[in-house]
């Protein structure tokens, strides 16, 4: 047996307990989503018959389609907005020396420490006072604000690794600062922008407590709130539909994530080191 094969078997044996525990709930989710209404109450590992019709039925009855649209709207827009305001700030931090630079960095660190839950009462009063409860755009603004710190920080670390020579060479040849920025600098920074965008998108897609507080009517629910509302405060829960809904809400992001995770590892390691 080759050395690498032996090592692989040993490592997989070592990892298997944690992999089993990690996968367990998602296996429960997948299996339960395919059981019939009566069989879902039996904790069997394999359903007698696969109830694929759970998915179309759940789709019709649970109101998950509008929630999916709402989640896409909120996550997409807040990701775009976060990147848009973070890039100039990160560029300023990595390319300029100015009074208040450190104060701004510390402000960002502190704002990262303040989670939405600690501020939820104040945010609720702010939003209620403006008469904007139930507005998805309010969620967009709040998610953007809470993601700025992380994004600026990540982007700035990455920007600092881009050599200045390239820009200086462009200036020498007579390109303006703005032009250099768009033709030389930003194209080089695309990987970092992608990583931070994914991170922001996933954060917004999964956010729970602010959405739970601000969204009052079913039409405006995002996915986590929609699925939670299928479970919370009900006498009878249609668990097979709940699991099907959770499955639909999770799989797209999980696939996106699986595809992009190595960029995330690389990006985060740069951000953490520099």
């Amino acid at each position: 047996m080759s050395k690498k094969l032996k090592r692989s078997i040993l490592f997989w044996l070592f990892l298997s307990p944690i992999v089993v525990v990690i996968l367990f709930p998602y296996a429960v989710m997948a299996i339960s989503s395919l059981k019939s209404a009566t069989e879902v109450l039996n904790p069997t590992w394999w359903p007698d018959e696969l109830h694929w019709q759970n998915f179309p039925e759940m789709w019709r009855t649970s109101g998950i389609a509008p929630a999916l649209v709402n989640s896409l709207y909120v996550s997409g827009l807040s990701t775009a907005l976060t990147i848009l305001v973070s890039i100039p700030a990160a560029y300023a931090l990595s390319r300029y020396q100015f009074a208040g630079r450190n104060a701004f960095r510390q402000f960002l660190l502190v704002s990262q420490m303040l989670s939405p839950i600690v501020l939820v009462i104040g945010l609720f009063r702010l939003v209620a006072g403006a008469g904007m409860i139930d507005s998805l755009n309010v969620l967009v603004v709040i998610y953007t604000a809470f993601n700025i710190a992380f994004c600026v920080w990540m982007l700035q670390s990455y920007f600092s690794t881009i050599p200045r020579d390239l820009e200086e060479a462009a200036w020498m040849e007579g390109a303006s600062r703005t032009r250099t920025l768009f033709t030389v600098f930003l194209p080089l920074a695309v990987p970092a922008m992608v990583v931070t965008a994914i991170f922001t998108f996933i954060n917004a897609w999964n956010e729970f407590v602010i959405a739970l507080t601000m969204l009052r009517t079913e039409d405006s629910y995002t996915l986590p709130i929609r699925v939670f509302s299928l479970v919370a405060g009900r006498y009878t829960v249609d668990w097979h539909y709940v699991m099907a809904a959770a499955f639909v809400a999770s799989v797209p992001v999980a696939i996106l994530f699986a595809w992009l995770q190595r960029y995330l590892v690389r990006g985060l390691s740069i951000g953490a080191v520099k």
Partner: protein, 289 residues
């Protein structure tokens, strides 16, 4: 445009947005916590620290505070202990490493709310698949009502907390490990250092700043973590699994005691500030190196 004003112009949008969403609510919370407030949020008399006094006389609040500290310590330390060996393995070259990485990272991609709801179903007494799995393995003989009392619910919540914190922590460690130069190990191996010595003398010291960062960031995230407990037990039965965040939410939005809830926010904020100071210190020290 004056050149000196350019950086300020660049940071302005992000600063204004973050400040408005963070500083304004903070001001509101401070004012709520010092006033008598009715359930519709109308400020009445200024009562100073009365809300804080009544909180510290409240057994439920004190229990939730201690439980929060225990919860945070258990999840964070558990996460670090599990994550170091996983990161060391995932940093090696072996068959299926790509798949192993994706599997370990999976909980990060799936909403905490979904994971917690699925666990709530898996932990169900009669129909839950955890009981049936444990029975099949011969570990238990009769069904356990996991979420019916704190003595079984809270440990499970801690377990869920650890599982969902591992991906982020492993990612940070992998970043750290990738910065360890390979020739250090080769040099150590020619000096006759075994694998354990290599780990103890090279890997661990180089990983230390990353362990520090993971420790502080996880502490903040776990301290503020709401969905796991809210979606499984809502802090029940009888407030026995409440941590400060769920206590805060119930006080504000179920009982409508906004003044008291604001005081809970500020107490949490004070605890977080201590963590933040530690964090800033660590971050600055990293930078100097």
């Amino acid at each position: 445009m004056q050149r000196a004003s350019v950086p300020y112009f660049l940071i302005l949008p992000s600063f204004l947005l973050a400040a408005a969403i963070i500083l304004w609510p903070l001001k509101e919370i401070v004012s709520l916590s010092l006033h008598d407030v009715n359930r519709f949020g109308m400020l009445k008399d200024f009562i100073g620290l009365e809300h804080f006094r009544s909180l510290f006389a409240n057994a439920d609040f004190l229990a939730a505070t201690w439980r929060t500290l225990f919860w945070t310590a258990a999840v964070v330390i558990g996460t670090l202990i599990v994550s170091v060996p996983i990161a060391l393995i995932l940093n090696e070259d072996f068959y299926g490493r790509g798949i192993a990485r994706i599997l370990i990272m999976l909980p990060w991609a799936i909403s905490l709310t979904m994971t917690a709801i699925v666990w709530r179903w898996a932990l169900n007494g009669e129909s839950g698949m955890l009981n049936s799995a444990l029975r099949d393995l011969g570990i238990i003989n009769s069904n356990i009502q996991w979420l019916a009392e704190a003595s079984t619910a809270f440990p499970m919540q801690i377990l869920i907390g650890i599982l969902v914190s591992v991906p982020f922590t492993v990612t940070i460690f992998l970043g750290g490990l990738s910065s360890v130069p390979e020739d250090l190990y080769e040099a150590a191996a020619t000096e006759g250092a075994g694998r354990w010595d290599q780990f103890r003398l090279i890997t661990l010291p180089l990983l230390k700043p990353f362990i520090n960062i993971a420790f502080v960031l996880n502490t903040i995230y776990v301290f503020n973590s709401f969905p796991i407990i809210w979606a499984t037990t809502q802090g029940g039965p009888a407030n026995s699994t409440d941590i400060l965040v769920t206590y805060l939410y119930k006080t504000a939005f179920r009982m409508g005691r906004l003044g008291e809830a604001a005081a809970v926010s500020l107490i949490m904020f004070a605890i977080l500030i201590v963590f933040t100071i530690i964090y800033v210190r660590l971050a600055m020290r990293e930078e100097k190196q």
